[in-house]
């Protein structure tokens, strides 16, 4: 067994545990992204679907671990897991769809205007860019001679891509960090200005504001962590320092996710004022495989996810594709620029 496959195996096991718990981290009345009767998940058929899904997840996890033990490339190992997880999820979704129920799609909106703000305001959003600029000025100053290599990419096993430490590489590396900061800024602004609030009268609306605020805090945290990564890369800190920072961030990330689960996503924190049911009030037909939201008539870019916590993109909105395309394409472009 290759010792370098150990981190990958640990990661696979962690992901598998999360995937096993995922069906339970959803809203009342949803089962694998399908609107069902609230008592359905506890029925014999519901438990059967859950059992089959979890069995599938762990079978594919085992296959992925076996692939890792045979020293296959991490990307291929993860691909095996992703394909298997997708297959298990889609099968569960299709079984759940047979028990889909129709519910009223009526929406209740509190007309009282409550402006929503990003924690720390615009200053908190833009400060990382100023920090990156300062880091760049310092890195390119005479007080910091550039020698050796800069780490430009990390994988499960640690750094796996480097670029010679030149002024160009420094600029490209920091531009890469600035790009990710921009993505986080766009996401935060998108959640504030381009996502649907399931808002009713207090105290439910207060609960939702707290949930959204926590999500925004998490996004800000990610933005500042990107700045830290950029600094560590340019400063060429030892690998163990970077590892410690990454592990610390992962710990904070887990705390945030757990707090979001505890706060309750979507209708977990909703109270209805009448006959309107719990839920995100979007039709099941717009949720492809219960996971991907596609509604061209909905102006929202971000919508609350039906699986897990947080938000997902409205793939019926063109700006969602622009954002996704930028996330996929830009790192490749920057990597090639860094290699010169």
């Amino acid at each position: 067994m290759d010792i370098r496959s150990v981190p990958l195996i640990v990661l696979l096991l962690v992901i598998a545990v999360c995937c096993t718990a995922l069906p339970g981290i959803t809203r009342p009345g949803l089962f694998f992204g399908v609107t069902v009767a609230p008592e359905f998940p506890d029925s014999a058929e519901g438990r059967s679907i859950l059992r089959q899904y979890r069995l599938g997840v762990w079978c594919w996890t085992t296959a992925s671990i076996a692939a890792a033990l045979f020293a296959l490339r991490p990307l291929f190992v993860l691909l095996i897991f992703v394909v298997g997880f997708g297959f298990s999820s889609i099968r569960a979704y299709r079984r759940a769809r047979r028990h889909q129920i129709d519910v009223s799609m009526a929406v209740e909106i509190d007309m009282a205007t409550r402006p929503e703000r990003i924690p720390g305001g615009v200053f908190a959003l833009l400060l990382p860019f100023a920090l990156l600029l300062c880091i760049g000025l310092w890195a390119l100053s005479p007080w910091h001679p550039l020698t050796g290599y800069l780490v430009t990419h990390w994988s499960v096993g640690g750094p796996d891509r480097w670029a010679r430490a030149t002024p160009r590489a420094v600029i490209v590396r920091l531009a890469f960090s600035a790009f990710w900061c921009l993505i986080f800024v766009a996401t935060a602004l998108g959640i504030v200005n381009a996502s649907r609030r399931i808002s009713l009268a207090d105290p439910a609306a207060s609960g939702e504001r707290r949930f959204r605020r926590r999500v925004l805090q998490f996004i800000l945290l990610c933005e500042y962590f990107v700045v830290v990564l950029g600094l560590f890369s340019v400063a060429q800190v030892p690998g163990f320092v970077l590892l410690a920072a990454s592990v610390s961030f992962a710990g904070v990330l887990v705390i945030f996710v757990l707090s979001l689960i505890r706060m309750g996503q979507g209708s977990n924190r909703l109270l209805t004022s009448g006959a309107v049911p719990l839920g995100d009030r979007s039709r099941d037909a717009y949720w492809k495989w219960g996971v991907f939201y596609f509604n061209p008539d909905d102006p929202a870019i971000f919508v609350e996810s039906r699986a897990g916590v947080g938000y997902t993109l409205n793939f019926g909105n063109v700006w969602s594709w622009v954002l996704l395309g930028a996330i996929i394409a830009f790192p490749r472009v920057m990597h090639h620029l860094a290699r010169g």
């Binding site: 799609m105 009526a106 929406v107 909106i109 102006p299 929202a300």
Partner: protein, 127 residues
């Protein structure tokens, strides 16, 4: 003030917005000077096209209920009671009869309809 929209009811969504807001405006739940959500925010929360909300706001602005400004946003304006339009009373009776017939066709019991109408009448006379 809670605005309720049912996309599956058959009535145009913008008409539901107009009717729902008008009820609140007439009842005083929305008073002159009150701000309404911007078009974008209301459209996002309802999950509908911006133009639908804009159409509803414009309709109420034409009726003299709302003031729409680029900087001030959407506000309820002071509105003097208009002169009664000729035929409004007969039109009202026809609307009520049509609504009652529609609800009965959907299975709502006459006794329940009568009870609800008495409740609305009581509130109207009390106001």
């Amino acid at each position: 003030m809670i605005l309720r929209i049912d996309p599956s009811s058959g009535a145009a969504v913008y008409r539901q917005i107009v009717d729902g807001l008008r009820v609140a405006l007439v009842n005083g739940e929305l008073a002159p000077g009150d701000s309404l959500p911007p078009v974008r925010r209301l459209a996002l929360d309802l999950g509908i096209n911006f133009n639908t909300v804009a159409q509803a706001y414009r309709a109420l602005a034409r009726e003299g209920w709302l003031e729409i400004g680029a900087r001030t946003g959407v506000r309820v304006r002071e509105r003097s009671t208009p002169k009664q339009v000729a035929g409004a009373e007969s039109g009202f009776r026809r609307h009520v009869e049509e609504l009652i017939a529609q609800l009965q066709a959907q299975g709502v019991q006459r006794s329940r309809l009568a009870r609800e109408l008495r409740r609305v009448l009581s509130a109207l006379e009390g106001g």
